[in-house]
């Protein structure tokens, strides 16, 4: 009995040690690939930045006056944007290579990378969706806020916050769906939240703009043309001209 327990324990310990012996080189391979590709990425980014700076890329782009890329670039520099894209591209490639290398360290029947790589790819996609969603939410929030303030809508802040959270909720649902987390619960929760926000906004805008809408409807239903007095001369009631 005791011998059997001892044998089972020693076999377990052996298996743990074997797994550890396989896992550690795999981890080292992964880290090594990641570090090397990160270093290459940093080098390439520096090279690209130096080359584009020497070529006065930012100035050329600004001079062409057709540079929507500049609006998306960090700290006013399209050069910085391209350099960062190069760097992070290398880091992601490093991740993939590292996982493949780790997979190679396992015995032939192991298919770790077959599961992990697609999930990493999904995670990268999810992170990109999250970043894009956050940027779009902030952009739309400010656009709506400024537009509504200039239109003197009293519920400007409320409207902008509603738009922001609408986009953020949509982004969160997309991220979770992309990562295959939550399943039907996320869809249901998203539907309820999204519908709730839209309904709230519709009620707020509808109630707030009641007078405007009724005036607009009155105007559109008045079909009788007003008779024109030939002697009538319009008097300028407002002499203010901004231009």
């Amino acid at each position: 009995m005791w011998q059997q327990v001892e044998l089972a324990l020693s076999q377990s310990a052996h298996r743990v040690l074997v797994k550890l012996a396989i896992f550690l080189p795999a981890l080292v391979a992964l880290l090594l690939a990641l570090i090397i590709l990160t270093a290459i990425g940093a080098g390439l980014a520096a090279l690209v930045r130096r080359f584009l700076t020497a070529a006065k890329f930012d100035e050329r782009l600004a001079r062409n006056a057709i540079a929507p890329i500049s609006d998306w670039s960090p700290a006013n520099s399209p050069t910085a944007l391209i350099a960062r894209v190069v760097f992070w591209g290398c880091v992601i490639v490093g991740c993939f290579i590292g996982i493949s290398a780790a997979d190679a360290a396992y015995p032939g029947d192991s298919q770790v990378s077959a599961y992990i790589i697609p999930y990493i790819a999904r995670s990268v996609g999810a992170v990109l969706i999250l970043i894009a969603g956050t940027v779009i939410a902030r952009f739309l929030e400010r656009s709506v806020l400024i537009g509504a303030v200039n239109a003197k809508l009293q519920y400007a802040r409320f409207l902008s916050l509603g738009i922001k959270w609408l986009v953020l909720v949509l982004t969160a649902a997309m991220v979770l769906d992309h990562l295959q987390i939550g399943g039907a619960v996320v869809e249901l929760a998203f539907g309820i939240l999204f519908g709730g926000i839209v309904l709230t906004l519709a009620l707020a805008v509808g109630l707030g703009s009641r007078d405007i809408v009724s005036r607009s409807l009155e105007r559109s239903t008045t079909f009788d043309p007003i008779p024109v007095d030939p002697d009538f001369k319009s008097t300028p009631t407002e002499t203010l001209r901004h231009f």
Binding site: A62, R142, T239, R241
Partner: protein, 410 residues
């Protein structure tokens, strides 16, 4: 000065100061002056041609018009040059890149030595004014029109365009975006070269800033008082859209010409202030302007704080608490605000569309302050000149922060 690279054929020009001059009353050489018109209604075109005949009686003048021109009598001094407008302008109330390009091409093809470019509603110009523009165009590289506007007109020009252009480029003319211009051929060529960059990018309706171009090239600049004139108004009455368009174009021009204006020195001599009748009462729009500003202060404070330094924000806070009758935005505060917005435009602190949208309520605050001030008896022109001086005084701040944007800024 390096010449701009374009694919417009270069025209040999006489050196500066040797532009052909015509003394009053003497006949201009055939084809020496080209008057370029924008599209006009048939009746307006007839009036315009009659005015041109009066303005240049006894001289031969080329008139470029995109409209179907009526038959002229054989003794008319005008020689019509019909041309085809390729694209319909969405901003017919202002001269656009396509107008400058058309004018230069026609001037070059017809060997004109100077051009007069007249904007919309030009039939309301007095013949003497047209003559003065034409005469000045033959003697000076750039002649801009000086309009006699009412105290409540042209406020964007008074608040932003004039003071910024004067302070940064050291130019004197009061209307940087004038729609009636006299151009020497080399000035027209330079403007056409700039215009071609825009038209090549499909931006036919882009605005050009002739004063800054002339200042950079070191060309001579003059201003002609053209008296009363009906100024066309934007088709879209939305202030926010138009202000974004105009201020965005000016800020982009300032950004593009930074290497020049950082070096440019000089303070303009005091402008002659015409005594206008005091404005009796504030217009009713002041209340809505103040309301717009106060509403924006409570909602856009977060966005303004990304652009403006704490000192300016404090100034705005004090302003938001003032009563309508004592509402007065200090000139130096307004100058600082505009400069900070120019800096933010350059640095892309926030999206440029958002930035220019956030400027609108501040401009309305300035306009309300200006209107309140002139209703209390101050001459409108005096206040406008004071604002321009404040911009000149504060220029070192802009230059300093342009060079070192991250420097501590209280």
């Amino acid at each position: 000065m390096a010449s701009t690279q374009t694919n417009i054929a270069s025209t040999p020009m006489p050196p500066t100061g040797t532009m052909p001059a015509s003394a009053p009353g003497t006949a201009t050489a055939a084809g020496s002056l080209l008057v370029s018109l924008v599209p006009l209604a048939p009746e307006a075109l007839e009036t315009m041609l009659a005015n041109l005949s009066l303005a240049f009686a006894g001289e031969t003048v080329l008139v470029a018009t995109p409209d179907a021109a009526p038959q002229l009598s054989s003794d008319s001094p005008l020689r019509l040059l019909p041309y085809t407008v390729t694209t319909v302008s969405t901003t017919p109330w202002i001269l656009t890149a396509a107008d400058y390009l058309n004018t230069y091409k026609l001037a070059q093809e017809n060997r004109a030595s100077a051009c007069v470019l007249l904007g919309a509603e030009s039939q309301t110009l007095h013949p003497e004014a047209i003559r003065a523009l034409g005469k000045s165009a033959l003697q000076t590289d750039l002649t801009t029109a000086h309009y006699n506007l009412g105290p409540r007109e042209g406020l964007v020009n008074s608040a932003i365009l004039y003071p910024v252009t004067r302070a940064l480029f050291g130019t004197r003319p009061r209307f940087p975006l004038a729609i009636d211009l006299g151009l020497s051929l080399r000035m027209a060529e330079r403007l056409a070269a700039v215009a071609q960059r825009f038209t090549a990018a499909g931006q036919n309706d882009a605005f050009l800033w002739p004063l800054s171009e002339a200042a950079i090239a070191g060309y001579s600049i003059a201003e002609v008082n053209i008296g009363p004139r009906v100024l066309p108004q934007p088709v879209t009455p939305d202030l926010n859209t138009i202000l974004t368009q105009i201020a965005g174009s000016l800020f982009a021009d300032v950004d593009a010409k930074a290497s020049f204006w950082q070096r440019a020195r000089g303070v303009q001599p005091p402008y002659p202030i015409t005594q206008s009748a005091p404005v009796a009462e504030p217009p009713p729009d002041i209340a809505s302007m103040l309301e717009a500003f106060r509403f924006a202060y409570t909602n856009l404070h977060e966005i303004w704080s990304l652009v403006l330094p704490p000192n300016s924000l404090l100034g705005l806070k004090k302003l938001s608490l003032l009563h309508p009758e004592s509402f007065r935005m200090p000139d130096n505060l307004w100058a600082r605000i505009v400069y900070d917005f120019i800096l933010a435009y350059r640095l892309r602190t926030i999206n440029r569309g958002h930035l220019l949208g956030a400027l609108t309520p501040l401009y309305l605050a300035w306009a309300a302050s200006h209107l309140t001030l002139i209703s209390s008896g101050t001459a409108p022109e005096k206040h406008i000149q004071d604002v321009a001086v404040a911009f000149e005084t504060d220029k070192p701040y802009l230059v300093s922060r342009w060079r070192w944007p991250d420097r501590f800024n209280p």
